[in-house]
């Protein structure tokens, strides 16, 4: 006989887990939400998306102050009070996690602090106590990958540590030029560190449109960030005076750094819940096999978010969380889309959804590309925006939109129009004939469509 029983138990209170728990509660289920953290929200709220955005905002203010001279606005060189900045960031995080706590109380979700492990397909153990359950959802997320063979050193940070703002390194090396690495580069470069990014692939933001990534590359280089692509970090040495990175590839040589951020990807935490004890199929990399309805191979057990593989993004987890709660409660639901938007909150932002031209080509999908350079956008120039680009991939026969990439100020916000357009099956004419306010950055989407249709008068 188990110590406790749960009707619907969610393991992990990140953006997937709490969304799942809340949706299930709204559907009338009695819900238990389990997480080892003192606060709800998981990595996203506590040490990921939200705190990084707070620091990126500070970085933007610093950059704009520095460029004030271009507009005849001269400020004294800013001083950064790291403790106050950290406190501000932590305050925002507590405001949000506190809000989540209130939302869970309102829904009468029972929050249990602890780590859960399956003992079989119908029971869990949470910190020594046994729990039987009717249905369970695995939403325990992922952790930063630690590269093997590196020294143990508290000057080597993962993304979580980087967001703690322990100190401001004079020289910062970032290994990994994906979204997380580039965002950290943006923050620390603005705060005053000499930042070097080392990326194994031949472009930063691998997977993104190469032309757009090139624009971001140039903009970051202009802000003083050194970016080495096609470069491998072979070895790292730690000494009292600093850290030495031995690099191979396009950049071959050594780099001295006062701190290093490892940002080479994330690994599923699935093994932490002992899925094998319940008989759940899981890959050797910890990816739990699920169908579009988030059902694992074991009836009654669902998995959502990063434990189900790439793309490991909060918004995908949230949608899967709703799907799992609905399916578990007798509804027919599924995440039946491949359109998971990606946004790098860099300066400028880089955002994309759907097919890139490179992917369409690799998959042999008939496609054409159109674009609009932000140098021709009045709103962009008037707002002090730098180089930018709106690029659309579309089907040459139906002119349906297949993908979009934007690089420039607020690209992440502008992407939503493209996502909605693709989901609705919109074609270029739909975009071009929808009246966009002038002057806005959103016009660039309509302009790119008009350009392909031959109706553009702004170029």
């Amino acid at each position: 006989m188990a110590d406790n029983h749960a009707d619907f138990i969610v393991l992990g209170a990140g953006p997937g887990g709490y969304a799942c728990a809340f949706r299930a509660a709204d559907l009338g289920r009695k819900v238990v939400l389990v997480d080892p953290r003192a606060t709800l929200g998981g990595v996203c709220l506590n040490e990921g998306c939200i705190p990084s955005k707070a620091l990126l905002h500070a970085a933007q203010v610093l950059r704009e102050a520095r460029h004030g001279g271009d507009w005849g606005l001269n400020f004294a060189a800013p001083t950064v009070d790291l403790d106050a900045l950290r406190a501000k960031k932590d305050g925002i995080v507590s405001q949000l996690t506190g809000g989540l706590g209130a939302l869970s109380k309102r829904r009468k979700v029972q929050v249990v602090r602890g780590s859960a492990r399956f003992t079989d397909a119908k029971t869990l153990e949470i910190d020594g106590k046994t729990w039987s359950f009717e249905q369970a959802v695995i939403a325990v997320g992922s952790s930063p990958i630690q590269l093997p063979g590196w020294p143990e050193d508290d000057r080597i940070w993962d993304s979580t540590a980087a967001l703690e703002l322990r100190f401001l390194p004079e020289r910062l090396a970032i290994v990994g030029g994906g979204i997380i690495g580039l965002e950290m580069a943006t923050v620390y470069a603005a705060l005053g560190s000499q930042v070097t990014v080392i990326e194994l692939a031949d472009q930063i933001a691998p997977g993104a449109d190469a032309e757009a990534a090139g624009i971001l590359h140039a903009a970051m280089a202009q802000e003083g960030v050194t970016l080495h692509t096609s470069t491998k970090t072979a070895r790292v040495e730690a000494s009292k005076d600093g850290l030495t990175l031995h690099c191979e590839g396009a950049f071959a040589g050594t780099l001295e750094a006062d701190a290093i951020i490892q940002a080479v990807g994330r690994r599923s935490n699935a093994f932490g819940v002992a899925p094998e004890a319940a008989g759940i199929a899981v890959s050797d990399r910890g990816i739990i096999e699920v169908n579009a309805s988030c059902q694992t191979t074991v009836p009654g057990i669902f998995a959502i978010g990063d434990v189900t593989g790439n793309p490991m993004l909060a918004h995908r987890a949230t949608h899967q969380g709703h799907v799992a709660a609905e399916v578990a409660s007798g509804h027919a639901a599924a995440l039946d889309t491949d359109l998971i938007p990606s946004v790098a909150y860099t300066a400028p932002e880089l955002a994309w959804v759907g097919l890139t031209a490179e992917q369409a080509k690799a998959q042999n999908i008939a496609h054409k590309v159109t674009g609009f350079p932000w140098a021709a956008s009045g709103r962009n120039l008037a707002s002090g925006g730098g180089d930018g680009l709106t690029k659309l991939v579309y089907c040459p026969n139906t002119q349906r939109l297949l993908g979009a990439t934007l690089v420039g100020t607020n690209a992440g916000e502008l992407l939503a129009e493209a996502t909605l357009a693709i989901e609705m099956g919109a074609c270029l004419q739909d975009l071009a004939l929808s009246v966009h306010a002038h002057p806005t950055l959103s016009e660039t989407l309509a302009f790119a469509a008009e350009r392909a249709l031959g109706t553009l008068t702004d170029l």
């Binding site: 027919a332 639901a333 599924a334 039946d336 889309t337 349906r400 989901e423 609705m424 099956g425």
Partner: protein, 298 residues
Amino acid sequence: MTTPIASPSVRAQAREQGIDLAARAQELGRSQLTADDLSPKPSVAAGQASTQASDATRYWDVDHAQYGPVREEATSRFAQIAAQNLGAANTLIPQVTHHDRANVAALEAFRAELKAEAKARGIKLTALAFQAKALAVALRAFPKFNASLSPDGKTLTFKDFAHIGIAVDTPHGLMVPVVRDLDRKGLWQIASEIADLAARAQERKVGPDEMGGASMTITNLGGIGGSAFTPIVNPPEVAILGITKAEMTPVWDGSAFQPVPMLPLDLSYDHRVINGAEAARFMVHFAGLLADPRRMMI
């Protein structure tokens, strides 16, 4: 069929209702679906008919019950499709029906001669088998009757085969199975193929590959009665041959009236493709083949 375009809300609603969007799109002949297409019984035929014909047919919309007891029966999907096709054929194609008669004395005599052999073979050598064979032979002599006009009217496609559709009256409606390459088949085979297709049509067991692609269709009401009718062309064919019951008719042979069995023939044709003189010549030729079946050989 690829996945149809449908917005997320339509996809979610379809999932809840257990509707397969790809199948629904195929059924409706569309590549894009909206919430309206998820209604329990979508009927494109009914929908179009009601919107397009609403003005013209408003006087048909009568409460019959006020005149006496009535009973309502939903039309089958099969009947709705047939109705739509017939409606389109009759509205869009300028049709003329040409009437003629064939002397079938020799043919009937030949059939009577073969009766014993037919019995032994277990095949009923019907007049229809002769008519279908003769029509196939006639089509080879008149290629324009073995053609189809493209929907835009710009291209006439001539067919290098002679397949004949046989209209069959079944409990669930009119079906037209097709016998292939009759010009190359013997009468025994034709008779047995027609009998087989007609029997299976009664049970609705005719495959889709056994319908369509006909050069021309024969609709024979001879077994029932009638002296003439005006069939409707079955597009994309350009003509249809209606046949009613042969009748013993007094025919003047120059010195006296002789009793001759005459078979009434009614050819409806697409006047965009075929003109009246061509139709008359075609029918004289066809009637000649029936009058002297030996001519089918030469």
